[in-house]
């Protein structure tokens, strides 16, 4: 039921929104979150590695959790992998519901769990110097633990 994609290509937010809402009249709220690659500290690019056999399974479970916890009419997770440059979108989550609190909370939940429960690893390539693996942040664990 949830839509989960792992891909190198960019995603089309408007098309994904339309998929969730078109020809339906029971949706009052559609929340979205797009994560983008920032150019912090002279970043030239970011390479997203993942565990292909596991990734869609993990994302589907996260999306199913959201659909169990909130009365969603639909939800979508699209996560890009490969080499991304600053300004490029990395991840999209969408949650649709009759009411706004469910859509907004589910969207925050999806991102918090995705940050801590999906097998992706980011390697940053600075404009100068050696690439470095991004370290997990304690605040992401704290954000995920609130749900």
């Amino acid at each position: 039921m949830p839509r989960v994609l792992v891909q190198e290509a960019p995603f089309d937010v408007a098309a994904e929104m339309a998929r969730l809402t078109e020809s339906r009249h029971d949706i009052g709220a559609l929340a979205s979150f797009t994560g983008l690659c920032r150019a912090d500290d002279g970043l030239a690019a970011m390479v997203l590695e993942h565990y292909p056999a596991m990734t869609e399974r993990a994302l589907t479970r996260i999306a199913e959790q959201a659909m169990e916890r909130w009365p969603l009419t639909g939800c979508t997770i699209i996560h890009r992998v490969g080499r991304l440059t600053p300004g490029e979108p990395i991840v999209l989550v969408l949650a649709a519901s009759a009411h706004r609190a469910a859509a907004l909370e589910a969207c925050a939940f999806l991102m918090d769990w995705l940050k801590t429960r999906a097998p992706f690893w980011k390697r940053e390539e600075p404009r100068e110097g050696a690439p470095r693996w991004v370290e997990a942040r304690a605040e992401d664990d704290a954000a995920a633990a609130r749900w």
Partner: protein, 83 residues
């Protein structure tokens, strides 16, 4: 048993995948980590306690107490950083 490595573990060990046959006493993730750490100095360093290595068994995240058995696919990796 198929062992996979991701991110800095893969880089540090210089290999993405190993096929191993652990001794019969290896029945949990904790046992397997102790076994893996004894394979080489690089393994010992990668699996040292402070490194925070995480594990998935047959495509599900696993804790040290979770069981492992012959034929499993076991992945080791740092804490995830997607999103």
């Amino acid at each position: 048993m198929k062992i996979l490595y991701f991110a800095w573990l893969r880089e540090k060990l210089g290999v993405a995948e190993e096929e191993i046959t652990p001794p019969a006493g290896v029945v949990t993730v904790r046992d397997l980590i102790a076994h893996m750490a004894a394979r080489s100095p690089a393994h010992a360093e990668a699996f040292a306690a402070g490194k925070g290595v995480r594990c998935a068994v047959n495509l599900d995240f696993a804790t040290p107490d979770d069981p492992v058995k012959p034929g499993d696919e076991v992945a080791f990796f740092p804490p995830v950083t997607g999103g």
